[in-house]
């Protein structure tokens, strides 16, 4: 079957699947980002506790996304919220870890300079620590986004659409066209989203933080 033939037959479904997929990714990464930023900032305030908490988070990160979706599926049933919760939890980890490390790694002398200038702790956080951790936070978001695109394929496992729908059905029926029809767009989606995040990061990073340092 030619590409045109494929598009003719599945075009509408494909566009819809990409839409659903993007929704999953966008909503989960947004939720994950908000939670991760808050937790990351809080953890950075209590380094003693974080020394224990962060490795534990690392351990949880080794749980496959399949399990998250599976467990939530068993408890919540076949609803989009199941996928969203599972993906959000997954999206939290990389961003949380990077936010924490980014903030903690801000040069002590800069924090002292800021304190010496008479900045309050909140001002130091927003004017110095977060801007300087931005690079790390961005790479966390990038990782989360790419993971989420990947994990969202699993949504089809519990029959909730997205590009996984094509892949799963293709694998089940041994239909190569369907597999590629789902796999390729998913791959391209991940690459494009990755590039898009790089682009945004590049745009908002001040010149002083770029290049050799």
């Amino acid at each position: 079957m030619s590409i045109l033939g494929f598009l003719d037959k599945y075009g509408d479904k494909l566009i819809k699947a990409i839409g659903v997929h993007l929704q999953y990714v966008f909503i989960s990464v947004t939720i994950g980002l908000v939670i991760a930023l808050i937790l990351g900032i809080l953890l950075s305030r209590v380094p003693k506790i974080s020394k224990i908490v962060i490795p534990i988070i690392g351990v949880f990160q080794t749980i496959p996304g399949l399990v998250f979706i599976g467990v939530l599926f068993i408890y919540l049933g076949m609803k989009p919220i199941t996928v969203i919760i599972a993906l959000s939890i997954y999206a939290i980890f990389p961003i949380l870890k990077n936010t924490y490390t980014g903030i903690v790694n801000v040069d002590e002398s800069l924090k002292e300079a800021a304190r010496g200038c008479g900045m309050s702790n909140v001002q130091i956080l927003f004017k110095i620590e977060l801007p300087l951790a931005m690079g790390a936070i961005f790479s966390g978001v990038r990782m989360s986004t790419i993971y989420t695109v990947s994990w969202a394929v699993l949504a089809a496992m519990i029959g909730l659409g997205g590009l996984g729908e094509f892949v799963y059905r293709g694998i089940d029926t041994n239909n190569k066209v369907l597999i590629i029809g789902g796999a390729l767009p998913a791959a391209i989606l991940a690459i494009i989203l990755g590039l898009f995040i790089d682009f945004i990061q590049n745009r908002i990073t001040p010149r002083g933080l770029k290049g050799g340092k």
Partner: protein, 392 residues
């Protein structure tokens, strides 16, 4: 939290205050180690005080107690008769400039933003902030147009620390704390910045408390040197006095028995002068001269006539205030410069330097050509060479 400091904020700024800093029986311990031990010290308004001593003597801790970056365990520190314990730390720090060795410019901010950090915290208007930045950059000869929009990583180390000093000055604090600010700079830049800072301090009449472990620097800069060891003050004295009469063997050791030894009497100006001097002919135009000074990071030049004979000196401020573009520097040069002959005994020259309170003396050859200059730091170098032998 309403503090004494806040209530009196307005008079504090408007009135001609005496920002005297007084330490009374101040102690600080880390675990069981006493870093500052029952220290009492008075720092007068407008004074340039250098805290010096071997590493671990508590000088940096003593400094950071003032802006409450470190909390003391016992005793009181008062600024202008107000106990700093009653002043909110954040408010206090906005009124005290702070410069650190690591420079600590915020890499995510432009130079302008870095300088205006404190003014903004003090809620100055935008125009006032901007004006202040222009004025400060002018002060260190870094034109606004060229520098304000740059980021710290686009400047050299010396320039970065100039901005570090400006950032501390920006909020017009009466007091500035400096923690080994020039420690990470190369010797030439370091000397330039020392000279500039000294000039700035005289001009702006700030109280500066400066921590260093470098006696050269201390002698060069200080009105008063506070020598510390093991958390205690061993001696408080003017640089000359400390060199002449160290009060404790630890000090003489630290100076490397730096007092004027008999050997020192054999030195002449030729031995101790700096030979690297910017010499310009009096026919040079003002702008050319400024360009030369900038290139060498100097703020003054020695002027000679067509026969290379000494005429006087010009400073960059001098040119800026009185000079016109295209004019020859002979019109504005300062002829009232103290000079010594190259054969003059070094000690005599130093005495003259101290007596006349000049920043430097011009050393002349027999034929009145310029051989070099002598500054405060030449003095310490000379002493060092007596103690440790000639470097070459």
């Amino acid at each position: 939290m309403v503090s004494v400091f806040l209530e009196n904020e307005n008079d504090a700024i408007d009135r001609e205050e005496l920002y005297m800093i007084v330490y009374e029986n101040v102690s600080k311990k880390y675990n069981d180690v006493t870093v500052v031990d029952n220290l009492s010290l008075t720092i007068n308004d407008g004074e340039f005080v250098v805290l010096i001593g071997p590493s671990g003597c508590g000088k940096t801790t003593t400094l950071k107690l003032i802006n409450k970056l470190i909390k003391m365990d016992e005793g009181t520190i008062s600024i202008d008769d107000k106990n700093i314990m009653n002043i909110d730390a954040v408010e206090l720090r906005r009124k005290i400039g702070y410069v650190i060795q690591q420079i600590g410019l915020f890499p995510n901010m432009t130079i302008e933003e870095n300088i205006s950090v404190v003014p903004k915290l003090l809620k100055w208007s935008k125009e006032k902030c901007h004006q202040r930045v222009c004025e400060l950059l002018e002060l260190v000869n870094m034109p606004y147009e060229e520098n304000a929009k740059k980021y710290p990583n686009e400047l050299s180390g010396g320039q970065q620390q100039r901005i570090g000093v400006l950032r501390a000055l920006a909020g017009e604090p009466p007091i500035i704390l400096m923690d080994e600010p020039f420690g990470a700079l190369d010797p030439i830049t370091r000397e330039n910045l020392q000279d500039e800072l000294k000039v700035l301090q005289k001009k702006l009449h700030k109280t500066i408390i400066f921590v260093t472990h470098d006696m050269d620097e201390a002698v060069n800069m200080a009105d008063k040197i506070v020598f510390m060891s093991k958390g205690k003050v061993l001696q408080v004295a003017s640089p000359e006095e400390m060199l002449n009469k160290p009060a404790d063997p630890i000090i003489s050791n630290f100076l490397g028995k730096l007092s004027f030894s008999p050997n020192g009497n054999d030195l002449t100006c030729a031995d101790v002068m700096k030979k690297k001097v910017l010499i310009v002919p009096e026919t040079k135009k003002t702008l050319e001269c400024v360009a030369l000074m900038k290139k060498r990071e100097l703020n003054s030049a020695v002027v000679v006539d067509v026969n290379d004979k000494f005429k006087g000196a010009v400073t960059i401020e001098n040119i800026r205030e009185h000079g016109k573009p295209g004019e020859m520097i002979s019109k504005i040069l300062d002829t009232q410069i103290e000079t010594v002959m190259i054969t003059t005994n070094a000690k005599e020259a130093f005495d003259k330097l101290i007596e006349t309170k000049a920043d430097y003396l011009v050393v002349l050859d027999r034929d009145k050509t310029v051989a070099g200059i002598i500054t405060g730091s030449s003095m310490t170098k000379a002493l060092a060479s007596v103690v440790w032998g000639e470097e070459n």
